[in-house]
Structures are given as C-alpha cells and as structure tokens.
C-alpha cells in the first residue's frame, strides 16, 4: 500500500473524516472516562482528577472480584455455547446450495433488525412461567405424552409442573446466547467459506472418517475464524447488563450492572471509570492472546497444497 505517497491529497481527504470522528467521539470520551478513573468525587457533580489509584484499589475488593469472576464465567459459557451452536450452522450455510446462501445469511442477520431491548423483553414472554411460550410448548408435549400413556393403560403422568426458568442465571445465559449467536456465526462462516474443499476430499480419500476429517482438518483450518468468533462474542458478552437486568434472578448481577449503577444511581463516575477500564484491560489481553494463538494456525492454513 504505497498509494498514499502517490496521491497524498486523496489519502488525506479519505482519511481525515474517519480519523476526526474516532478522535472526537471515541478517543476523547474514552480518555475522559480514563481520567475520571484517577479522580475523586469532591461534590455532587464535581470530580477532582488527583491521580489517585483508590478507585482501582477498591475494584480489587473481594465483592467486585467475585462479581468479575462470575461475569467472566458467564461470558465464557456464552461464548462456548455460541461456538458450539454456531459452528454447525456456519458449516451448513457454507455447504448449502449457492442460491440458498443469501437467504440463510439473511436469517442470521435478521435479529439485528429489531432492537436489542425489544428482543430481550421478548425473551421474557418466551421464558416466563405463566403463559410463557416455552412452558406452553412443554405443557402441550406433556399432555400428549400423558394421553399416550393413558392409551396404553399406564399410570397417568400427573399434572404438568411448569419449568421455573425465568429470573435465573440459566435465563440470563439463554438470553446472552440468543443475542450473541449471530456474532459467532458470521466470522465462522467467512472463514469456512474460504476453506479449500480439496483438503477435505484428500482427507476422505486417504481414509479418514467424516468426524476425523472435521476435527483434524476443518477445525484447525478454521482456527483464525474460531478465534475471531470467540473474541467478538466474549467481549460484548462480558459487557452485557441488559440480560441480567431483565432476565436475571436476585443474584444474577454482572460487572456491567455494577458499572451501570456507578454512572446512574451511585453517581460515582471515578469508580465506574476504573471498573470500565479494568474490563478494557481484560479485553486487550484477550486480543493479544488471540494474535498470539492464531499466528501458527495462519501459517498452517497457508501451506501449499
């Protein structure tokens, strides 16, 4: 990319607006929050930037560490389920007939056309105990099973007991997977799409089974895509506060809920800033780990056939 040397004016004209945008609306606000994280509250609305580390100290208190660990576990589980479910989906789309592909991809992107808040509220209607769609479905199956056992003169199954899943960590997990699944499928698909199918044919010809081919050929070749999918799912999952708020029970709060409260009801922006930046550091570490992990995979992926 030496073109900027040949036409610096074009480069400047193209590069300036996004740079200015990033600077004004991303770097400066983030810089302000970062500065607040080294500040102290000195009144109702005033913050004194003193360079103190007290906010970071406080963030390492046991209660916040406990919430942080729980958030990491929840985000990790979300990522795991998203990859486990997303991989077969991406695989199927890749090998679907060409005329279906745009429609299948559209189905993946479709949820983005509805606001996240609305979709999360919709999950309440699905999961709730009374008149929830999940429990209505389960009840229908239960009743059918009951009718069948009755038909064969077996003991009745008894009354249907609804599954009390809403307002629990499980509901939060379901909500998070639902929201972040498309983020996992898209990078996986874009990697699998570029996969050279000759490798698969060679593997099958040489006597490896489908399963062995999948795990020894497809998964390693898709390594960078998996890593991207993990990162792009894990990071927003770590920052989600809507799902614990709306679907969670009495102990489902995650670190993002604590941060949200610092900026609203607690009115403690310095502490909220410190917690946010701790999350940001974890994110940086994850991205660095990705770069470190995917390098050998990329080399393997570019081996001459």
């Amino acid at each position: 990319m030496e073109s900027w040397r040949r036409s610096p004016k074009t480069f400047l004209a193209l590069g300036l607006p996004p740079t200015a945008w990033l600077l004004l609306f991303f770097l400066i606000p983030i810089g302000i929050v970062w500065a607040f994280s080294f500040g102290e509250k000195v009144g109702i609305v005033d913050i004194d930037i003193t360079g103190t580390f007290a906010n970071y100290d406080r963030a390492f208190e046991a209660v916040y560490l406990q919430i942080m660990v729980k958030s990491l576990i929840m985000a990790g589980l979300t990522t795991l389920v998203c990859i486990a479910v997303g991989f077969p989906v991406a695989f199927l789309i890749t090998f679907a007939p060409a005329r279906w592909k745009p429609w299948l991809l559209l189905l993946i992107i479709l949820p983005f056309w509805t606001n996240l808040l609305i979709r999360t509220y919709a999950m309440i209607a699905v999961l709730r105990t009374n008149n929830g769609f999940l429990n209505m479905g389960l009840e229908a199956i239960w009743d059918a099973a009951d009718a069948v056992t009755g038909l064969f003169g077996l003991a009745a199954l008894g009354a249907f007991q609804p599954w009390d899943i809403l307002y629990s960590d499980a509901a939060v997990l379901i909500g998070m997977v639902y929201v972040f699944l498309p983020f996992a499928v898209l990078p996986l698909y874009s990697t699998l799409e570029r996969l050279d199918t000759n490798f698969l044919e060679a593997s099958l010809d040489l006597g490896a089974g489908h399963l062995k081919t999948f795990f020894s050929i497809v998964v390693p070749l898709a390594g960078p895509g998996i890593a991207s999918a993990v990162i792009i799912t894990f990071i927003p999952a770590l920052g989600s506060f809507l799902q614990p708020d709306l679907l969670g029970g009495t102990d489902s709060q995650l670190i993002a809920n604590v941060i949200e409260r610092q900026f609203l009801s607690a009115n403690d922006w310095p502490f909220g800033g410190a917690l946010s930046f701790l999350l940001m550091y974890i994110t940086f570490i994850a991205i660095a780990a990705r770069a470190f992990l995917t390098r050998p995979n990329e080399r393997r992926g570019s081996l001459p056939a």
Partner: protein, 358 residues
C-alpha cells in the same frame, strides 16, 4: 489534556472546555427573557401529564410544548449534570430536587409569574427540601407500598414483614431494584427513619435483606405491576400509581401502605439552570397549577395531586380512593426522603451491590 488545577475542575467545566457539550449548552441571560420564542421544552416522566394538557396550553398561550421522557430520577440527573441540553421544565422527585438545588442545577422561580400557587394544598405550600419553595412547585405525590393479589395472600399483607423477613410467600415476592426504595422500606420495618445516616443502620438493613434474599423471586426493574398482573409474583413492592394502573385491569389486585409506615414522595416542577425559555416554563407551571387543567391531569394519570383546587373538582371515586390518598393515620407514619449527602449514597449503593452478590 487534563491537569490538576489549583481549584478543582468540575466535570461540567471540563466538558464545556473541551467543547464536547458546548453546542448543547444554552445559557439564558436574564436580559434576554423578554424576547422568548413561543416554545418550551418539557422533560417529564412517561404517562405523567393530561391527555390534552399540552395542546390546551398551546391553544391558550400560543406556546408549543416539546416533551421528552425520562425513566427515572437517575436518568434525569445524569442527563442534566453535564449541563442542560436545552430543557425548560423538569419533574424531579423531592430528594433529587434537593440534590439538584445543592448542585446549582435549578433556577430560582419567580413566584410573581405563578399566581396559581394559591391553588396548592396548604400542606405543600412549603417543603423541607426546598424552604420557601424557591426552586420547586409541587406536582403529584404518592407512597411506596405493597401491591398484592387478593386471592393469593392471607388477609391484607399490611406489613413489610412479608417482603423483608418471612418465607411465607417464598418465591412469590418481588422487590424494587431501586436501592433507595428497598433500603427505605427495610429501615421502616426495623423501626428506623428512612433518612438513616448511620453505618450500623446500613449494616443492619444489609443483613436483613441478605438473609431474606432466598424468599425473593426478583428485584423488579420498576415493572413490579406487570409481574403482579401476569401472576409471576403475588406480592410486590411498588409505587402506588403503578399499582393503580393494573388494578384498573384486574380487580383481584390491591395496594396497601404497610402499617410500619413507608416512603412518601413528591414530584416537583422545576426549571433547570440554563433553560432557554424560563418565562414560558413559568407559564406552563402556572397552567398546570390551574384548577381545571390540574383536574384533567389528575383524573387522567390517577396520582394524588398537590393542587387542592383541582382536587375539589374531581369525583369522590378519585378523592376517596385509599390507594391514591392513604388513610391519615398511615400517612402519619410515612416519611419523605431527604438528601443525606454523597457519603450515605455510596454506603447504600455499596451495601446493595453486596446484597445482590450474596
């Protein structure tokens, strides 16, 4: 970029300095008051004004009203604390109004522009959070209490015990997720003032809430009335107006203010500092305090109005509804929250985080 200055920099001046909100800040110099455009920007709660009030006001005065909505006091406060983005009239609740007065976020009112102040109930002519009503006019008031499903509870659950210290209704109880509200109710149950400031009181409340947490189904995000209506819970801590709305849909629901007393709140009309149309805002306040206009508002939103002249115009069904106007002896045990400083605020918030993490 940000350096320590001899005088602490406020966030407001910091942001104004960077120009990030400079465009949004509109200062109204007192000289310019005479030449105001015929507009007023109203920042209000949802479903908290009469159906036709704003149109009627425009017909009467020629001033058009733009109304934005906020969901809670925290949102209102956060939105205004970095500088007024252009609102003329806001509706903060008493303790938040007090906090905003202390932070210089409200403009003093000119009582000569509000002749309808005479319509206000004598009990609301003055206020402990705003002596002399220099900054605020009362709008609506109400209580926090227990909304419940009559067919699913034994008798009237008129004690905080059923929400705070009992497994009788295990898994069928919701509390608000608002830390101030929960701590106030727990304080009342423990026989303390809602305006406790002692660390030991905070600890006692934290222990009570932590111990009772297994009996709670969910901390409701101000949607306790929906949980009650859908049958997800049978008892919920809520604001009276929210429960009144679902009582209209389901007559198996009821509301009670617990016998230990509760939190009484008052929403106020106030003009934020830097309002671009303060004269028009005064006119709108005066219009809301008018007897007829006030009656239409109260009749529509079904909250207790502080406008006595308006209340006189309304039906007995409204005036004698115990869920709107609780009995006098219960009211006597209720307290309104005062602003207790940022330190207490932090103690409560930290304790709440620990309760949720427990």
């Amino acid at each position: 970029m940000i350096k320590r200055k001899p005088r602490p920099i406020s966030r407001r001046s910091l942001l104004a300095g960077t120009g990030a909100v400079a465009a949004g800040l509109t200062f109204a110099p007192k000289l310019g008051w005479t030449a105001e455009e015929a507009k007023v920007n109203f920042y209000n709660w949802d479903t908290y004004i009469g159906e036709t009030t704003l149109d009627d006001f425009e017909d009467a005065t020629g001033i058009s009203v733009t109304m934005d909505l906020f969901a809670d006091n925290d949102e209102l406060f956060s939105k205004l604390k970095e500088g007024n983005p252009g609102y003329d009239l806001i509706v903060p609740t008493n303790d938040y109004a007090e906090r905003m007065i202390l932070a210089g976020m409200l403009e003093p009112l000119d009582h000569s522009l509000i002749p309808n102040k005479k319509n206000i109930n004598p009990a609301f002519q003055d206020a402990n959070f705003d002596p002399g009503r220099k900054y605020t006019m009362p709008y609506m008031w109400g209580t926090m209490g227990i909304g419940y499903r009559k067919s699913k509870v034994d008798g009237i659950p008129d004690s905080w015990k059923w929400l705070m210290d009992s497994d009788r209704y295990k898994g069928r109880v919701a509390l608000l997720s608002d830390s101030q509200g929960v701590f106030s109710a727990a304080a009342k149950y423990l026989g303390k003032s809602v305006n406790f400031t002692d660390e030991a009181d905070v600890k006692a409340i934290e222990d009570l809430l932590t111990k009772n947490k297994p009996n709670i189904k969910v901390f409701a995000d101000d949607n306790g009335q929906d949980l009650l209506l859908s049958g997800t819970v049978d008892l919920t801590m809520e604001w009276n107006g929210d429960i009144n709305q679902v009582i209209e849909e389901d007559d198996d629901l009821a509301y009670v203010v617990p016998k230990e007393g509760s939190l009484i709140w008052q929403d106020t009309l106030a003009i934020p500092t830097g309002a671009p149309h303060p004269i028009n805002a005064h006119k709108l306040i005066d219009y809301i305090l008018d007897a007829d206009a006030g009656a239409k508002i109260a009749d529509f939103i079904q909250y207790a109005t502080a406008n006595e002249a308006a209340r006189q115009l309304l039906s007995d069904a409204y005036r004698e509804n115990p869920a709107i106007f609780p009995p006098q002896e219960v009211l006597g045990r209720c307290e309104s929250a005062v602003y207790r400083g940022e330190g207490v605020q932090r103690m409560i918030n930290d304790a709440w985080t620990r309760v949720l993490a427990a």
